[in-house]
Symmetry: C2
Subunit: 339 residues, 2 copies
DNA sequence: GCTTTTTGTTGACTCGAGTAGATCCCAGTG
DNA sequence: CACTGGGATCTACTCGAGTCAACAAAAAGC
């Protein structure tokens, strides 16, 4: 028995072990593993493959990452991965990344700018090949954080930031679609439950709501601000219901807000859509299963995720920053008054 | 674009650059960065810190990972990160990992065993320090996949698997709590909407439902199986409503199922809880905002995530596999008939 | 004043894999 | 028979950071 030659290594199996077992040099092992830059004789290749199989060799990703300067990993920063909309976006990004052989590091900023900064730092330290930043906040100094080394793309940001790639939807057009639909149902007092964005710039959804009303010659209804989440919508709903000019229809800036809104309306003893019609923005699955099912402006989340990932890892990596704006689609259900 | 100090190297800044700039050896830089194994004179330390600051040095994580054999990363495998329950669990795991300085690689298995295997392989190749496997499926050959090198823990698994760490809840006791509560409301025909688990073993929730009924001397009501998700609950609901012995109360094995169930009940023109009372399992946020709000068996998700992560990275890393079972708590809302 | 001890610093090796450049071997040619 | 071409393979250096043995300088001890 050739015990010395067929010595089973103790720790994890390295390229060296495979080389020894197959009786070749470490270079050949690399060539086989990567279809490497040089050809290997079929017979040798077979020997190496066999050795790999028997020893259970798996190339060390850290070593490869060190040598190659890339670890085939992207980072994703979202405010709250347990919020269904972000969860969906995260899922889509993960799938888009996986399709290209990239893994996804997930981090939650919890809507906290400091935490967001920390996470971006951390991702940069980990040499990710790019960062998808999906955050409602935005501060220009983020640009410095990224430096020039690390690719990034803003996903689902309200505003277009110079110097950054971005992928988003036409918020204004989407909101207008929804509000016009509510107007079509004969409503004349249409309120807005608007989420809070970091920069106090008017969000496209707010503009769309306003313009649709103006275009129809209607007065601009009451507006309440709150978080984009369920509690935010609940609070905004309570304020809208207490307004002097109580609206007969409300447009909410996110599905989650609309769900909180529905609760506020129910607690006030009113019914949707008979007393108050509701439409919202996002097109998440919750909208379909709420009661009543929400009429909502659907974002093409999967396409957006695709676009974001390809901006980071695609051919066009070194082109100037791109801004892609996707169209939305009105998904009509019952909360607006349609049967 | 900012032009910085004179000594700015072209590529990414390495330890060597810092050493040169500060006029010390690379070893000292390491010592400073890590509070390293050797002491450094305060004056020298200051010089190095200054150099680090000025050059904007960030240690290369891949190199560190290579040397240390750990990249401070955990992997998470869940069926569908856009399902709110998994999303919540994922969030909790991410936070627990971050607290310990670990990043989280997120992967979706899409309830597909092959995909799950591929992802585990991939995570193993990436030398993660541990894998949290939260999947409804389970196949014993997973054990081999992990080999002995890589730590793992099963999170939220129905059954305890020998050789694996696991963290779960007492499904049977939780289900019993819920069903007993429905019995307390005077119901005598209580159905079950049960999710589908890979191994055909009876799930604890099914047993709990059955035992609670038997203990109360009640007949075992109708049972329908479907996915753990909303469509699954919807389909199961339709079948339960069409049953000969139509139940007046239904226990659902997940919140998502219950939400699908609510829809089926509404479409049948019935009301919850007046015509049919509902209770479910999980305790996710959707349960709170559904209509009516769901009475549900709450899982201590955050504690479970903590436990799972600490099983992977804690002191007790090298102890034999542990099985931790957490208690659940009945969260009473309106869907059961309580005011 | 001349050892010891302590403190601070450094050069050099290591982790595991990618790959350029050198080397080997053999078939084919003059 | 020597000579070249070319395919297959190997040697050796590289990536960036951790850390130990070795060493220099300063402090303490007798």
């Amino acid at each position: 028995m050739t015990t010395s030659a067929v010595h089973t290594p103790r720790g994890p199996v390295t390229r060296k072990d495979v080389a020894r077992y197959a009786g070749v040099s470490t270079a050949v092992v690399s060539y086989v593993v990567n279809g490497g830059p040089k050809k290997v004789a079929p017979a040798t290749e077979a020997k190496v493959q066999e050795a790999i199989r028997i020893l259970g060799y798996r190339p060390n990703a850290a070593a490869r990452a060190l040598k190659m300067g890339s670890n085939q990993t992207l980072g994703l920063v979202i405010p709250d991965s347990s919020n269904p909309f972000w969860a969906l976006l995260g899922h889509a990004v993960e799938v888009a990344a996986a399709e290209r052989g990239y893994a996804l590091l997930l981090t939650n900023s919890d809507n906290n700018l400091d935490s967001e900064r920390r996470h971006i730092r951390n991702l940069a330290d980990r040499q990710v090949d790019g960062v998808v930043l999906a955050s409602v906040m935005f501060e220009p100094d983020l640009l410095e954080l990224f430096g020039t080394e690390i690719r990034s793309v803003l996903l689902n940001h309200a505003s277009v930031a110079p110097g950054f790639n971005s992928v988003g939807v036409d918020l204004e057009a989407g909101a207008r679609l929804a509000v016009e639909h509510l107007i079509g149902h004969g409503h004349t007092t249409i309120g807005l439950a608007m989420g809070i964005t970091a920069d106090n710039e008017a969000d496209g959804r707010e503009e769309g709501w306003q313009r649709a009303l103006e275009a129809a010659g209607l007065p601009v209804g009451p507006l309440a601000r709150g978080g984009f989440d369920r509690p935010g919508g609940y609070a905004a709903g309570q304020r809208l219901l207490a307004a002097d000019n109580r609206p007969t229809a409300i447009f909410a800036s996110s599905d989650m807000q609309a769900i909180g809104l529905l609760r506020a309306i129910r607690e006030a003893g009113l019914s949707v859509p008979d007393d108050i019609a509701v439409a919202s923005f996002d097109g998440s699955i919750e909208a379909e299963y709420s009661w009543p099912a929400l009429t909502t402006v659907e974002q093409p989340v999967w396409e957006m995720a695709e676009a974001a990932v390809s901006a980071l890892v695609g051919e066009n990596r070194n082109e100037p920053p791109q801004h892609r704006v996707f169209p939305t689609q009105l998904r009509i259900r019952q909360s607006c008054g349609c049967p």
